[in-house]
């Protein structure tokens, strides 16, 4: 298969970027999208050009490292997969493929197609955990959890933190990502203890980072490689309102985060 690739090239965060067009011939239909880019880079390296930088690691659709806005959609045209699971048979021979980095003020471009998603880490650090130290915990079967709660929690917990939700959202909102973590932990008895402070502090951090506001278009859920549902956002909303009117936290009187 032959392709024309329009790829965003940008030297670093400070530089202006622009599209560059590359012709690639003789690509196998069984190649993954990443393998297609590997081939492009082999050519570029042979011609003493700077290879295209893109994030990738496990290439199995689970680590969440790969990104790419492909032909106007995050992770490309197929549903419920990551870019590394996309294969060239999903395209037509002689197609032009436009490849851009995730675009969000909170995901600054590091180089070419690589963006900085550390805002997600900081959101998790603000409260996306259950505060237990190692050891001294009760037996695993001490607290029964219904299968439906466990399943719902697992649905939310399957988030891979790739950032496609932010990338596709017209507002670059991180609500689906934040909701996935809040909803995962809020549905488990172990997570309920800190549910209020968690919702408050994670939303505060999300706002501080500069993500946009959710306007419920639902695009995030449609493009999410793990198909995380909007119901988790509704749960986050409930958790947050409940926390705001019932939690002990009062601004300027107490730290949200006690660790």
């Amino acid at each position: 298969m032959d392709f024309t690739l329009k790829i965003w090239r940008q030297k670093d965060a400070q530089s202006q970027g622009q599209f560059k067009t590359y012709q690639l011939t003789g690509i196998g239909a069984d190649n993954s999208f990443m393998e297609m880019l590997d081939e492009l880079n082999e050519h570029l390296i042979k011609n003493n050009e700077d290879p295209v930088h893109f994030d990738h690691d496990c290439r199995e659709g689970i680590c969440g490292t790969c990104s790419l806005y492909i032909n106007g959609r995050p992770h490309g045209p197929q549903k419920a997969i990551t870019t590394c699971q996309l294969h060239m048979r999903s395209f037509k021979d002689k197609d032009t493929i436009t490849i851009e980095p995730w675009r969000a003020q909170t995901f600054p471009v590091i180089r070419d197609l690589v963006v900085d998603r550390s805002a997600f880490d900081r959101i998790i650090q603000s409260g996306g955990y259950i505060s237990v130290n190692t050891g001294g915990v009760p037996d695993a079967n001490e607290t029964p959890i219904t299968t439906s709660k466990a399943n719902n929690a697992m649905d939310a917990a399957s988030c891979i933190g790739c950032g496609a939700c932010v990338a596709v959202c017209k507002n670059a909102s991180a609500m689906l990502f934040v909701a996935a973590k809040i909803s995962h932990l809020a549905q488990l008895p172990q997570g309920k203890v800190e549910a209020e402070s968690r919702a408050e502090s994670m939303v505060a951090q999300m706002d501080k980072e500069g993500f946009g506001l959710c306007t419920n278009t639902g695009a995030c859920s449609v493009e999410c490689p793990k198909e995380i549902s909007l119901t988790h956002i509704a749960r986050l909303n409930r958790q947050y309102y409940k926390a705001k009117q019932a939690s002990d936290y009062i601004p300027d009187k107490e730290e949200i985060h006690e660790g």
Binding site: K170, V203, M206, C214, A234, N237, Q245, P251
Partner: protein
């Protein structure tokens, strides 16, 4: 109350305000629409004029009016604030973006649809609300009920102009799409979703956003046609 102001300044707090004001305006639409259907009566406007006086002279209604005005203003102002934040969140746009693959166009253009409705509201308020309150309306006298401001006559007069009718129809189409996202979105923002009742909310929302604007739009259309014949 700094916890409250802080909460309302957060992204979710702002959304909550949009949701509450939106839902109140939805309730308002129901009342307003029911009143307006009086215009369909062939009674020379008596029922409508009686209704208009009731609406402007009953204390509880006047209080609700104030809430309505406040809702419109807050809903509009917050939408501007939210839009500005959201614009800042993506300073560089995609060169190629197939947004239609993942969301309906009207859900992404609530601001534009809302602006259409807002422009309509300005015209609408100037034509009728202002005239009713502060204008010099002719007075009619119905048997035994005293004098009434004849709002009906200027409504009927306005709806004889095709461009005015067209403005109404366009605005109501805008409202229909605004509601078709806004109705269910308000519930989602409130966190009121459950597999048991969300389909009902979505169904009611869809019907509401078709039926209510259609009835609103029919009024000028019907009166325009009547004025022709």
């Amino acid at each position: 109350m700094s916890w409250l102001t802080e909460a309302l300044k957060s992204s979710l707090g702002r959304k909550l305000v949009m949701s509450f004001t939106g839902l109140f305006l939805i309730l308002f639409l129901v009342g307003h629409m029911l009143g307006n259907t009086l215009l369909f009566f062939d009674d020379g406007g008596q029922a409508f004029n009686e209704y208009a006086r009731f609406m402007t002279s009953t204390p509880i209604i006047q209080a609700l009016s104030l809430v309505t005005y406040a809702s419109i203003i807050i809903h509009a102002v917050y939408s501007i604030v939210i839009t500005r934040i959201n614009r800042r969140a993506r300073p560089i746009q995609y060169a190629l973006n197939k947004a239609s693959a993942s969301s309906p166009w009207y859900s992404r253009n609530m601001g534009i649809l809302g602006t259409i409705v807002l422009i309509f509201l300005v015209v609408h308020f100037r034509s009728f609300w202002y005239e009713m309150r502060f204008g010099q309306l002719p007075v009619v006298n119905y048997d035994g009920s005293g004098e009434f401001k004849d709002l009906y006559s200027i409504v009927a007069e306005s709806f004889k102009q095709w461009w005015y009718v067209l403005l109404y129809v366009v605005a109501m189409i805008g409202l229909a799409f605004h509601l078709s996202h806004g109705f269910k979105s308000a519930f989602q923002t409130l966190g009121l979703t459950h597999k048991k009742y969300t389909p009902l909310i979505e169904g009611v929302g869809l019907w509401f956003s078709i039926v209510v604007p259609t009835i609103f739009a029919l009024i000028p259309v019907v009166m325009f046609i009547k004025s022709l014949g």
